[in-house]
């Protein structure tokens, strides 16, 4: 059996979901026999590849890079999973939305709070501009699987991945699988 082409992506989130993924600890070793990690913040591949079987997307769609990449991911992925609360609900990343958009938070972080050389980093091609409204992944592209949690526990991630590698339909039911936060 050929290995599952597997990717994880870090969008507008804190990387806590990836940390939780690493908390799979020793199960990572048998997992490595079943999947081939073709793209991830923890491997050094710059371009999202084609023909990916499963992609876990951590984080909300918060800047222009996220917005461009998510369409590529959707095109190249069979099963796209929203991985963690930010991807599923926009969560903490989305807390800037009620405040009135990116300008307000950028001002607060880079101008109001700085005594020395207050400036908003906006160099073209270096820092991707924030989009007006943070969105959960499914508001931009169709999503096949939702894994809530902030972060999803290693136990929950393992329960999902076991089903995926076994080629089974993943059912998200009950507190263990569905509780947000």
């Amino acid at each position: 059996m050929s290995k599952l082409r597997f990717a994880t992506v870090w969008m507008g989130g804190c990387s806590g979901c990836h940390m939780s993924f690493l908390d799979l600890d020793e199960w990572l070793i048998p997992l490595a026999d079943l999947i081939e990690v073709v793209y991830s913040p923890i491997v050094d591949i710059k371009v999202f590849p084609e023909n990916v079987d499963v992609t876990l997307v951590e984080g909300a769609i918060a800047n222009r890079d996220n917005l461009e990449l998510i369409h590529v991911i959707r095109r190249n992925t069979k099963v796209l999973a929203s991985f963690g609360d930010c991807a599923v609900t926009s969560n903490v990343t989305g807390m800037r939305n009620p405040l009135g958009g990116p300008e307000v938070v950028l001002d607060r972080a880079y101008r109001d709070a700085q005594l020395l050389r207050p400036q908003i980093p906006d160099d073209e091609g270096i820092v991707p501009p924030l989009i007006q409204r943070v969105a959960p992944v499914h508001a931009i592209v169709p999503v096949d699987l939702f894994i809530p949690g902030c972060p999803p526990s290693a136990k929950r991630i393992r329960a999902v991945l076991e089903q995926i590698v076994a080629g089974k339909h993943v059912e998200m039911i009950g507190r263990e699988m569905l509780k947000f936060g």
């Binding site: 369409h71 989009i131 969105a135 508001a139 931009i140 592209v141």
Partner: protein, 555 residues
Amino acid sequence: MTPEELDRTQERELADDAKYEHQVHVCVGTACVALGSATVAKNLEAEIKASGRDGKVKVRCVGCPGLCALGPLVEVEAKDKPEDEPATLYQYVKPEDAREIAESIGGAPASRLQADTRQPFFTRQTKIVLENCGRIDPERIEDYIAAGGYRALEKALFEMQPQEVIDEISKSGLRGRGGAGFPTGLKWATVAKSNSPAVTRVPDDILARKFVICNGDEGDPGAFMDRSTMEGDPFRIIEGMVVAGYAVGAGKGYVYVRAEYPLAVKRLRSAIRQAQRSGMLGATIMGSGFNFDIDVRLGAGAFVCGEETSLIASIEGGRGTPRPRPPFPAESGLWGCPTLINNVETLANIAPIISRGAAWFAGIGTEKSKGTKVFALTGQVNNTGLIEVPMGISLREIVFDIGGGLPEGRNFKAVQTGGPSGGCIPAQYLDMKVDYESLAQVGSIMGSGGMIVMDDQTDMVEIARFFMEFCMEESCGKCVPCRVGTAQMHGLLTRISEGKATQAHLDTLTELCDMVRRTSLCGLGQSAPNPVLSTLRYFKSEYEDKLVKDGQNER
């Protein structure tokens, strides 16, 4: 006023009227007043007085005769005019036209201002509810008595048992004019046989244990049937309420009117005071031993207070929000007591039914919808105004005959009935009979009587969005489906309007329509999706044409 005094008052008034050779009626409904009709009346009186004819010509301020589009309206009627001859009607009368009209009285009409009274707008109507509107001075109880007022009350109090009154109303086939069309007699019977609770929450100063409420919280955009009735013939509503109170055994009534109708409130209050002074309200009415009094309660501008349980909460002094039914107000309403709630127009039908008999009323209309219905005809139609037509008339007759069709160069697309709870009816149903069942069948409702004509330039998605915005703003916020569902549906309709929606959004909208309709607490939420559902049913392509085709929505 005893029955004998009533007779004497009527005779005196009729004799007084007979002294005048001409009657001049000036409309003082809200629309005509806004265009200066009060000054027209004042100037006419001054001109007639100046010409020394004030003993021969009587100027009377009256309620709305209906054709608001031509207002201010002035009608001149000669005493010796043959019965089938219409009176002379003047349109667009300005204060400075008073002299010209005054001088023409008794001679040739002032043709420059004359309106065509032979047009279908006047000839095709059947007036029951509005029979006194445009005929009597709504601020004089004597005018009402002269026109035969209080004869129904007299008959009910002295010749009928309460049960007989209820039977008469049941036999007439009258159905609630507030929109849902519940049989009025059945509602009365339920209230009559409901027992008042032993311990009530009724405030100490109110002795009654059953109540009658007149729902005058008319809130549909473009609707002004009840306003015109309250402004033009308030005594008829009061008489209907007293008869209702007698039939169901209530001792106290409330007229709940929205505060946005200051003129209606003023005239109702004046009418109640006059009725109280004449002994037509209060203790032992007409010497019969039956006690009943009425108070006016003002709404604070919430559409949802037209819903009966919200209205009751509002009268009780609480926040105007609905509560689950059952129990229905007929069993447990105002302060936990059995309460009869009827719409203004329903109550306005009571006096004629009692006076002329159930059989007469049942002879008008269709098999299941009896009598007439008042509609406020607005939108892209020549004769905007207030009309009263027999049930069973076709939409085509209303729009093209009575309404005079659409303005030059415009084509009919749909007619919207029932306000934000109703739907849009397309051209293919123009020949459909207007009654409760037929309208429901094509996805709309009778509603309280708003009727908006739309031409082919109307964007139906925009119409749905407008009504949804209205429902969203007017949702009381108590139940989740209505509060959040209307906001979400409005968001989706806006997205479709702006050309940013996909088929998936349209599917979500359709699903939400079903859910909000089925799960909302009160009629506001349950009917809020109707404008969307009916436009989706008949004008789906207009929605689909606005969708993004690639299946992905960019932000």
